[in-house]
Subunit: 341 residues, 4 copies
Amino acid sequence: MRVGLLTGGGDVPGLNAAIRAVVKRGEGEHGHTIVGFRNGWRGVVDGDVTPVSRQQIRNVLPVGGTMLGTARYHPRAEDGGIDAVIATLEQERIDALICIGGDGTLHAASKVAEAGVKIVAIPKTIDNDVFGTDKSIGFDTAVWIATEAIDRLHTTAESHNRVMVVEVMGHHAGWIAVTSAIAGGAEVVLTPEEPFDIEKVVKYLKHRHRSHASFSIVVVAEGAVPLKGSAMDYEVPVGKFGEIVAGAIGERVKNEIEARTGFDARLTVLGHVQRGGSPTPTDRILGSRFGVAAIDAITRGESDVMTALHGENIVLVPLPEIAGKIKVVPADLIEVARTLA
Amino acid sequence: MRVGLLTGGGDVPGLNAAIRAVVKRGEGEHGHTIVGFRNGWRGVVDGDVTPVSRQQIRNVLPVGGTMLGTARYHPRAEDGGIDAVIATLEQERIDALICIGGDGTLHAASKVAEAGVKIVAIPKTIDNDVFGTDKSIGFDTAVWIATEAIDRLHTTAESHNRVMVVEVMGHHAGWIAVTSAIAGGAEVVLTPEEPFDIEKVVKYLKHRHRSHASFSIVVVAEGAVPLKGSAMDYEVPVGKFGEIVAGAIGERVKNEIEARTGFDARLTVLGHVQRGGSPTPTDRILGSRFGVAAIDAITRGESDVMTALHGENIVLVPLPEIAGKIKVVPADLIEVARTLA
Amino acid sequence: MRVGLLTGGGDVPGLNAAIRAVVKRGEGEHGHTIVGFRNGWRGVVDGDVTPVSRQQIRNVLPVGGTMLGTARYHPRAEDGGIDAVIATLEQERIDALICIGGDGTLHAASKVAEAGVKIVAIPKTIDNDVFGTDKSIGFDTAVWIATEAIDRLHTTAESHNRVMVVEVMGHHAGWIAVTSAIAGGAEVVLTPEEPFDIEKVVKYLKHRHRSHASFSIVVVAEGAVPLKGSAMDYEVPVGKFGEIVAGAIGERVKNEIEARTGFDARLTVLGHVQRGGSPTPTDRILGSRFGVAAIDAITRGESDVMTALHGENIVLVPLPEIAGKIKVVPADLIEVARTLA
Amino acid sequence: MRVGLLTGGGDVPGLNAAIRAVVKRGEGEHGHTIVGFRNGWRGVVDGDVTPVSRQQIRNVLPVGGTMLGTARYHPRAEDGGIDAVIATLEQERIDALICIGGDGTLHAASKVAEAGVKIVAIPKTIDNDVFGTDKSIGFDTAVWIATEAIDRLHTTAESHNRVMVVEVMGHHAGWIAVTSAIAGGAEVVLTPEEPFDIEKVVKYLKHRHRSHASFSIVVVAEGAVPLKGSAMDYEVPVGKFGEIVAGAIGERVKNEIEARTGFDARLTVLGHVQRGGSPTPTDRILGSRFGVAAIDAITRGESDVMTALHGENIVLVPLPEIAGKIKVVPADLIEVARTLA
């Protein structure tokens, strides 16, 4: 078989582990040829292919990013996009396609599958909001980086008696915010799942600083929003791709806290460091297992499915079942974060 | 309620996260008093108590080890051990006990529960072989450390054209070995689950070095054993507590490889660094969640149960159901390690 | 002797190592009593003292920040500030004072020394711009953190074909920028030492992206400024303490690059994570050696001097000799950064 | 010019930074051609060359080991070795040679220079014992790794009331031992510079455990030896290349402590992890600066010199001046380690 392979959407650590696993398993065990497309769906539309055999994947396991390149590009948003995809796949004689990506890439994959192309998807996103899987590639590393940053800010907060506000990624779900807040021992965490009342936040901080501490860490997901009708009005500012403008909510929260408490407050926006660099072992293992499972599924003739982690097992879930759904942080995990503050 | 708390067996990173969660949740939400016992079951037998309130747990979240101390001590192995435990619990008016430990501690917990004491257990072990839970506290950090070491050995192996043998922990199960081998991109992994044939290992290494590489990484679990009747005879050397002598199997494997291939080989025994130092976010979060779940279970009057991770959820499993069982690495995960070599 | 001890200015990793060394050496070898002042000079003015004996310094070596607290407070800027300092020192019967700080703290120390107080200073600043010493406490850790961030951004830059702009600290000198640019393999570095011409930067980036690469890393010190009369006009925005507003120059540089090249560019402002968390071994050792040297100097009756690193040796330099001077990055080091781009 | 380049002796982190700098500066600024020899002097003797131009050095900066390979091979120890070196250099029309290595490599370089070959050397060794330079490439990373290990062992020592013995590298000088002991807060450090009396060590540990602590960390350099005539007799076991057998002195010290104190003691032998993996920023910068200085010196026609760090400056020192000398740890640094125990 000739199997196409692409990575789409934002890069995350662990993509190369998945690519490597597809190639090692695909070539070594099944005798397939793996054809890489550069820069996600754009490479498929443009016919931009690159070989990915065992020579290319040497030493990529601990390296972040994606050796195939990636882009935020959606073929179904372009006129004739899906047709161009199918034309390229025919020209390159691709029997099946493995797509590694987040929401957008998976949605596109589902549309292409509807057009008759055999597709197996692998979920990746540092936001961890892909429905149907316990974890997506990249999330564990992002939490690691965010926690390390909170650890570092902790000593500064304590030394200077400050409120440190940390904005982390998480547009539709607060996975990084909640888990790094638990791991870093933050006092407050604001997430998209539960709109916040700034007056309650301020009241809690005042109480804490009066009673037993002189510093606090406040973790804010970029997608956190104030409760409607609460004291703080706020319009979510979005960029040209619909993404949230980095630092917007963090800046507002920091300013509100400073103005309402009189405490010295500082903002840190973690930004792109959350999605780069060497993956944690967990992400390397998850990428490797997903890669093996995907090429095995392709070989068995499966299609329109996504590899997923359920407990300790890798399973396949139908793409249509997860389309348009978001996996949010469950209330009990948010409760753990709150109770440990 | 007055709730006793102890940590038993070998120390692991993440114990303090669990202790902190028990205290914060227990005092803050339920109004309990938490009474710590020093050095595991020995402290219960000796009546060696120490207060653990919110003052004591400040800043312990990112710190490895256990603030309560620990010891390898089994009350049921001592004459009158269980009686002494019960006497202390009555004297200290302990209503219920939270035990954080591995196999030995959990077994003891079950025995004490049989004697009528209310007990909730929390699993910890870097070996990850506690039955009934996806993960135990300490495992993720151990894999992180082992993978970092393999990453470091990789560049030396390649620069010097050597076979680097790395012995990692794992007495009855090869969890650290298999996962760090996948994450570190090792060529060979030897585990307790599958006795090995040194001739096959050597044949594979010769083939690899002849065809496309001049170096290899071989990960050996301390509990790995040669196949009966195979070329290498070996008696497992055990210490006074039944533990495996560190470096024993690693040294033998290294020597056999060197003698049978003529390649330059070196041994690294990771040893105790695997179980110390600051926990990964995953272990901090797991410890925190287990701690909250345990004190909540105690408050509801549950007993003779263990907190466990099932997929994304924390659940309770009956201690008797897991007694005497070992969770080994499933064959499909070992297959992933092998296929990616 | 009763020796006062304070940490002033911004916190940095390694302060606790110095405090610990002063206490261990002072108590253990010389029999002194060490009296800590909380929150820098403010604590001296307010008479806010705290004991620092061997009990307090346990386990602080690997911990960032300062156990004494710190504040940006200059006694000579307040009416009667110096008088209040001297009054407190007399009341607490302080024989000599050890001040750990950067420019501001050292300047204040010199003024207090002029008033007859015996003072030995220890230099700390992540900016590394204290004159008279090869290194100051905190610099090595800051470079470590900045380099780790650049490593992480590298993979994202490459995966997305982007220009990543990273703003690091460095108000009057570009030490962090130049060294992390060399260590991280950045393509462009902008520092306070050499005002930049944005047109040259843009020209270089266009050439690079045309000829052999599709991504770049640009490191910008917060104190970098455009060349007068060059294409980009810019007013340095300063905060209430005269500090530079974080992100200001980074934002401008990113926007100019994006507008003038059409390349996709992103900004990361490292901010406070650069000054927090566990110190590198180098900073722990430097802090320890400075602490020992300072208390030894105090014991010998020296005053109005600063501990300094000259090559491999710790020496003492007179405070008046360094007052008002800034140590900038030498041209040959900037040349190394440029030649390796 | 055609400039030869080799790395000899044990691999260390930072070699690739030096190689990259030689190539970037040599090709880019001076227009030279750089010819790499594989596996140190053996590659010169065998005529095993490999191109190292800008294509090859992409992404090597953060990677440990050496892309040229290395070997412990001394041409002057072989019959006709020096002649074979000169023959190869003539055949490849090499105008000058840059040798990156430790004692052995530098000694060989000096001999080859005597034969009329233009040579500039760059010092590397994790032991940091090359005479004439403040630091050699690899040392800073080794200290970082050793300190991280000591940090990890600390929490285990404390949790289990144990004496943890850590053997680190350092054959003729105890640089890693002394600096990591200071940085890690170890209680005892044993080095080649000062033969130890095990009875004094034991006496100190007993005193410490009696008075205020129940655990200790003992750092032992592999080259540490007991004082002649003291209680512990010991023959240094050496391997086939004259290197010390790993773990030998550590094992003996651990056993003596256990036998003489009755405390529970454990040994960790760090071994090869100390010399592998991604270099610290300090080693990347040192390698980069040495590389630039070496190729600049070659270009100016200098020979028989070594690049060296003196304070903040890179200078050249004549190879004959350093031949046969070892840089040991100065007494005042050992005193700092002792006073902070």
